[in-house]
């Protein structure tokens, strides 16, 4: 018995070491991006590479923020505007739809569910050209609305399928009790069921935002004025110009990733929950 305990102890220590090594390997690229952003151009090419910037400098950031080529503050603002409204649009449309799919007997419900599932699997490229033409016809090409609508099509199916499982987990008796107390279906939904599913609602907010913020191809295709570009398009356009100015490219990358890392720190629980709920992003 004692030897079994000891073996288990050794096994635990060994597992912790393996875990630590794997963790370092997985996180190293991100670490490298951030540390490189604090190096000057010469140290980037230092051999052997400096695992830690010996003389950290914020020069690369200063150059990014004062660059005449792309106004990064404007870019961040554009990103936030596009992601915020795409998020609101997808959540506002998804919550009632998910409730409808969870609570009502609808004709063709299976088919509707199938449509939402299929729309998650489509390649973005399949709707890229048609929407490019449609947006020009309804004259929202080159406005924020174009990527907002396109990004919402990513969030909506995810949110509906995810929220539906939350709503299904609330017993029907709870709705019925609310109805007996005199609520109509909308009231019983907003006052009783929805608060019980606040976790799911948080997940749908976070992910609709994430989808929109991460998007490159929609904004790249539907917006041609650089003053309206989100940061993802900004950084894509910048890399060509950098050549090998890697500390600047990494500084830009860190700036683009920072809002998501901050969001992750505060919303970690919901992000893990949303990823666990399955089918996310491509």
């Amino acid at each position: 018995m004692k030897s079994y305990k000891k073996r288990k102890q050794i096994k635990n220590v060994l597992m912790a070491i393996i875990a630590a090594v794997l963790f370092v390997i997985m996180m190293f690229p991100l670490y490298w991006m951030i540390t490189t952003s604090f190096k000057d151009e010469r140290t980037v090419f230092a051999s052997p590479p400096q695992l830690f910037p010996l003389q950290p400098t914020i020069q690369a950031y200063v150059e990014q923020f004062t660059s005449p080529m792309f106004n990064i503050f404007q870019g961040l603002k554009n990103s936030v505007i596009i992601s915020f409204f795409a998020m609101i649009l997808s959540v506002v449309l998804s919550i009632p739809a998910a409730y409808g799919m969870a609570r009502f007997r609808l004709k063709g419900k299976k088919f509707i569910l199938l449509l939402f599932m299929v729309s998650q699997m489509l390649p973005q490229i399949a709707t890229l050209v048609p929407n490019f033409i449609i947006f020009q016809k309804i004259s929202i090409y080159n406005t924020y609305l174009a990527p907002i609508f396109a990004d919402a099509t990513l969030g909506i199916p995810f949110c509906i399928l995810m929220l539906r499982t939350y709503f299904l987990s609330v017993p029907k008796e709870i709705d019925e009790a609310a109805r007996i107390d005199g609520c109509n279906s909308l009231q019983s939904f907003t006052r009783v069921v929805l608060p019980m599913c606040s976790g799911g609602v948080a997940v749908s907010f976070v992910f609709s935002f994430l989808f929109a913020y991460s998007d490159l191809v929609y904004a790249l295709t539907y917006i041609n004025e650089s003053t309206k570009w989100p940061v993802t398009v900004g950084i894509y356009n910048a890399i060509g110009r950098y050549g090998t100015a890697w500390s600047q490219a990494m500084a830009f990358g860190t700036i683009v990733a920072a809002p998501i890392i901050i969001l992750f720190i505060f919303m970690q629980k919901y992000i893990v929950e949303g990823l666990t709920a399955g089918s996310v992003k491509g």
């Binding site: 597992m15 393996i18 709707t127 990733a257 893990v272 990823l275 491509g282």
Partner: protein, 295 residues
Amino acid sequence: MKRLLHKWEGYIYVLPALIFMFVFIFYPIIYNLILSLQDVTVTTLLSPDKDFVGLKNYIDVLKQKEFWNALFLNCVFTVACIFFQFIGGFALAMVFKKETSFFRVTKALMLIPYIIPVTVNAILWKFFFATNGGFINEVLVGLGVIETGVEWLQHPWTAMFSVIVANIWCGIPFFMILLSTGLANIPMDFYESARIDGATSLQQFIYITVPSVKASIQASLVLGIVYTFRAFELIYVMTGGGPVNGTELLTLYSYKNSFTKFDFSVGATISNILMLILLIVGVFYIRMMKDDEEM
């Protein structure tokens, strides 16, 4: 009467989202099908009458060597990525199975590579594979494996290798998280009693772990294949499909036809072929979901 109203109400909840998706997803898909049957280039794009050419575009595309090259690269990319992502994700899920705070926090942090924008990942890996100053070359030269740096992104096959490595890194957390939910649901007494019966760790893995997470394995593989097969942004930013079409997957091939050559009909044709392939894979997924829950 009351029942009827009840039914009606349900549609009011669902319709707004459904209409939105029809306008911006399903109508465009139909539009794309029509485009692929027409001959639409930049000059005829906004004109009202376009010539229908039947299946000519499909026949033309299937005759192009470039198309088969793209399809082949798509398969290489997907198989290599899924193979290593699955193994890596499974290994991480097993190692980080414990519920102590150290394991929980580190496991959560490892999701960051997956949730940051793909564009950032692409630039980060472009730097890793840079000929001068790139980490991979620095290490290989430093260790004496090679004498001078490899031009990773300047040759077709090394470029393919680079985008595969980058994509594996971004995708491992996806597999890890899906598989670890499956692992968390296995009751510990299964292992307990297997140990008492004298089962080795390997036997426990094969006869308890794998069968118990079968559903998670299936779901992660099918979704992973779909997401990898339609990869676009990572490669577009890292290599743009080059060098010499070396990383030109179907998505990039379609994008190039639409937005570089402005041959919208050919672009639409390629994306429809890609969509068809994805839908075939998707049918498996939907079947699995049906087994899981009654729809």
